[in-house]
């Protein structure tokens, strides 16, 4: 080692050596690394498919790949990004690392179950990868029947099995978090002293535990219809073609909140730390997470306004969708108000957080256009929807994930990333993202349907803009990947609390020892008590 570093002598990273010490670890911090490595892999797998999709769409004729190949590309892009990247990203990496540390516990409640969750995840993802390389799937990540159950002649069952298995990993992680948060808080850490990151993970875990089984059952039904020709969805076999959509969205709409709630938790942490202020309206932010989790279960029918669902059902799903937008708005206003009269430092994590606020606002506001019945009829299943959910999932969730990763990187590795490069890549990502996805709103309102491999000429200009933006975005994602790896060896030493942040995880060395805290901390103040220090000094 060349750089003169003085990391703590003993910590979780050097507590044991060898591949076995990683693959059989029950330390939540090491398991977080296992997840980090695997979801990064799948992010780039999904990203690779995205590159091909955007290349194909540079020209209207659809001349780069065959229609069938294109259909497999967008299906696998969606599958990998959603099930193997977005859903596990923040909970399984940052959540795993931080939930015990933030509540002053030595580990999760069930460490071995935690390791098992990772193996289950890997098993499911491997099956999906096998399905992808041995012929692919072409149903779209939504698997709509009867196309998926009868008509598609691709690897539907294998891919579905992969997702089915991965679902158990979510369920187990959710149970583990819930029990840990209930039972293992440090003395003095009452519910209303919890960091908002914990509240967000608590709400997310509820959705994981209650929603995922429905997806599992649905997938099994598709497989049964495919293999044994027992009719659930195909009317020719006596089934109902729309039933699948109800079951699927009953999980998958709440699943979009599995993706975004943890991101909101991260943003709450970043905004307070880099403004050195307690979050504005702590309990409103905390309860809005729970409200989103609960109401989020009641809005699935807004994906089905033109599916022949009854007009009255649509009216109810529509009003509930508008209602669920309100807690999201509350959070945005509270983050903004937290900045007011703060002491704001625009370091990389904060740049990501501010970017998140902007993009999430646009994503959420356009969600209202989709919740509005008569308007959704026109934009449903067009690029407008594609733009909307990328603003939420990529503009929102991925920004939050990267912001969080930069923020806690010193804690995880004991070293800093290079700040200048960090800010540069945050900027590139923001610009590239908007150029890639904003044109898609226009395309969608113009009427370009999604999942089109070839398209009429008049849509070309906007598509080319989008592809150009996507390449900038891709570069933006590669830069952190490189400097993170670099920093593990050459980064400056971080010290226990490089950001002067509040929160228990900053009160232990970086990287922390295996048991997290040498002595169990006792909590005597509210979360984010940045100014009590001042009071003490005065």
């Amino acid at each position: 080692m060349s750089s003169p570093v003085k990391l703590p002598g003993q910590h979780y990273l050097n507590a044991a050596y060898g591949i076995k010490s990683w693959l059989l670890t029950t330390d939540h911090k090491r398991i977080a690394w296992l997840y980090l490595a695997s979801i990064t892999l799948f992010f780039f797998v999904g990203g690779f498919f995205a590159v091909l999709i955007r290349l194909e769409l540079m020209t209207p004729q659809g001349d780069l790949v065959e229609a069938e190949t294109y259909n497999k590309l967008f299906t696998m892009h969606g599958l990998f990004m959603i099930f193997f990247f977005l859903i596990p990203s923040i909970p399984a990496v940052l959540g795993n690392f931080l939930v015990p540390m933030m509540i002053g516990a030595p580990d999760l409640a069930f460490p071995r179950l935690n390791l098992a969750s990772w193996y289950i995840y890997i098993a499911g993802a491997t099956l999906a990868l096998v399905a992808a390389v041995t012929g692919g799937v072409d149903t779209g990540w939504t698997f709509y029947t009867p196309y998926s159950s009868i008509y598609s002649n691709t690897n539907v069952v294998l891919a579905a099995l992969g997702i089915f298995i991965t679902g158990f990993s979510s369920i187990l992680t959710g149970i583990n978090f819930i029990v840990t948060i209930h039972k293992m808080r440090a003395p003095g850490l009452t519910w209303f002293r919890l960091p908002l990151f914990i509240w967000a993970h608590y709400a997310t875990s509820i959705i994981m535990v209650l929603g995922t089984p429905v997806l599992a059952v649905t997938i099994v039904l598709v497989a049964i219809e495919r293999i044994f020709r027992i009719g659930f969805f195909d009317p020719a076999l006596g089934g109902d073609p729309v039933l699948f959509q109800h079951l699927f969205w009953f999980y998958s709409h709440p699943a979009v909140y599995i993706m975004i709630l943890p991101g909101m938790g991260v943003i709450s942490e970043l905004v307070t730390c880099f403004s050195r202020k307690r979050i504005f309206g702590y309990s409103f932010v905390a309860f809005s997470s729970l409200a989103i989790a609960v109401v989020g279960f009641l809005v699935w029918g807004h994906h089905m306004f033109v599916s022949s669902q009854s007009v009255y059902a649509s009216m109810i799903f529509s009003i509930l969708s508008f209602v669920v937008a309100v807690p999201s708005a509350i959070k945005v206003f509270n983050w903004t108000a937290t900045l007011y009269k703060g002491s704001i430092s625009l370091q990389t994590p904060m740049l990501y957080a501010l970017g998140f606020i902007g993009l999430f606002t646009i994503g959420g506001m356009t969600g209202l256009a989709l919740a509005a019945l008569g308007l959704d009829v026109h934009v449903h299943d067009t690029y407008f929807v594609v733009a909307h959910f990328h603003y939420i999932m990529v503009g929102g969730m991925v920004m939050a994930y990267l912001g969080g990763l930069h923020f806690w990187w010193p804690k995880m590795t004991g070293r800093m990333y290079p700040e200048w490069w960090g800010r540069l890549s945050a900027l590139i990502i923001f610009v590239g993202f908007n150029l890639a996805f904003f044109p898609q709103f226009l395309l969608g309102y113009l009427g370009m349907p999604r999942r089109y491999h070839a398209y009429p000429e008049e849509f070309q200009v906007l598509n080319v803009m989008s592809s150009a933006g996507a390449s900038i975005l891709g570069i933006g994602y590669l830069i952190p990947m490189i400097y993170f790896i670099w920093s593990m060896r050459y980064g400056a030493q971080a010290g226990p609390n490089p950001w002067q942040a509040k929160g228990l995880e900053w009160q232990t060395p970086s990287p922390p020892p295996t048991e997290n805290f040498p002595i169990t901390p006792v909590v005597t103040e509210d979360a984010y008590a940045y100014s009590q220090e001042e009071a003490a000094v005065v």
Binding site: N71, Y144, Y147, Y151, P235, P241, S275, K277, R278, G281, Y282, S283, F284, S307, S308, V311, S314, S318, F322, V323, V326, A329, I330, F333, T336, L339, K341, G342, S343, I344, S345, L346, L354, G358, T361, M365, L368, A369, A371, A372, G374, L375, V377, H378, H380, D381, T382, Y445, L446, G447, P449, R451, A454, Y455, P456, E458, Q460, V461, Y530, S531
Partner: protein
């Protein structure tokens, strides 16, 4: 590349303007809030940037008044948007009575369209301007979705049931018709045109242009019924009705082995077991292909199922024939 680069779709139906107005309202609100949040974030980030390493600002923990303001205002705005969305939706989902009826059959990967007078088209739909057109749609295989951006209409086309939508074109021209629900390999090739014509041109088109040899799909062993030029859907349906032997049980008057079909369309039917259903297109279709599913009270369950023996077009012809036997009173306000 830049020629014909539009930023906004053409509006060519009576509801297009209404949908656009709702869109502008929503986008206006979205732009307002995005700019508001964006500029506040920007201004705060500059104005309150950290000046010394150790500064700690005074805490502002919250304000119930503010929380209420930014909960209630978005809520009210959301309810206004909701109400407008509903009113547009009602407009798009209720065809006016007296609309011209056209049948649509989606199939991987083409649109098959049938005019009431028997005229058939593939991937092209000719309609007169200024006349409400009601589409009754079904699919032969998977779920498709009938989408005409210039009209701002879209409706899924499902196997095993009929869905409807409607439009009234306000100008002549050619407008894209897309399939918007992913339906397999050539999903993006399942596109066509709606061709809106002056009524007189439309009459002319109906009379003069020879209909293309529309392929009649085959179902089961039975040879397809040849369609005579100029024969209406109901007339073909009537011949089919006789060829299949339906008329041996369904006599015009009571007394046959099966219920008489005169005036049945739209009437409320009492089933074995006391339940009632409205005899709409979906009910008639089901009763033909799978008669055991809903048995009419007072008749023995002896009708043979026609599942797999009729194409979707033939089912449409039979239903048109049954409709032509007269309508019952609609007893519900089914939207």
């Amino acid at each position: 590349m830049w020629e014909g680069f539009p930023l906004f779709p053409e509006s060519a139906s009576t509801i297009a303007g209404t949908v656009d107005r709702l869109y502008f309202f929503l986008i206006g609100v979205a732009i307002f809030f995005s700019l508001l949040i964006g500029s506040l974030v920007f201004i705060f980030a500059i104005k309150y940037r950290r000046r010394t390493e150790n500064e700690t600002p005074r805490p502002i923990v919250g304000s119930l008044k503010l929380e209420l303001v930014w909960t209630i205002i978005p809520f009210i705005l959301a309810m206004i948007m909701y109400a407008q969305g509903v009113s547009v939706y009602f407009e798009t989902s209720r065809p006016p009575s007296g609309a011209m009826e056209i049948y649509v059959v989606g199939k991987q990967w083409m649109w098959k369209l049938q005019h009431p007078n028997g005229r058939r088209e593939i991937n092209e739909l000719h309609v007169p301007v200024g006349m409400p057109i009601k589409l009754t749609m079904t699919s032969e295989d998977v779920i498709h979705s009938f989408y005409v951006p210039a009209f701002r209409i879209k409706m899924d086309v499902l196997p095993g049931r009929y869905t409807t939508t409607w439009f009234q074109a306000t100008k002549t021209g050619r407008f894209h018709l897309f399939c918007a629900e992913y339906c397999g390999t050539k999903h993006s090739g399942m596109i066509g045109w709606v061709i809106v014509m002056e009524p007189s041109d439309f009459e002319e088109w109906l009379r003069t242009t020879p209909p293309p040899a529309a392929p009649r799909g085959l179902a089961g062993e039975r040879p397809p019924l040849p369609v005579r030029p100029g024969e209406s859907l109901a007339a073909v349906g009537e011949r089919l009705f006789q060829q299949l032997g339906c008329n041996s049980c369904h006599l015009p008057e009571p007394g046959g082995q099966g219920p008489p079909l005169t005036g049945i369309f739209g009437r409320r039917i009492t089933l074995e077991g006391g339940e009632t259903v409205v005899a709409d297109e979906t009910y008639l279709r089901e009763s033909i292909i799978n008669p055991m599913a809903k048995i009419v009270s007072g008749y023995p369950p002896i009708m043979p199922p026609f599942q797999g023996k009729l194409t979707e077009e033939e089912l449409v012809e039979l239903i048109e024939y049954i409709k032509s036997l007269g309508r019952g009173e609609r007893t519900t306000s089914q939207p």
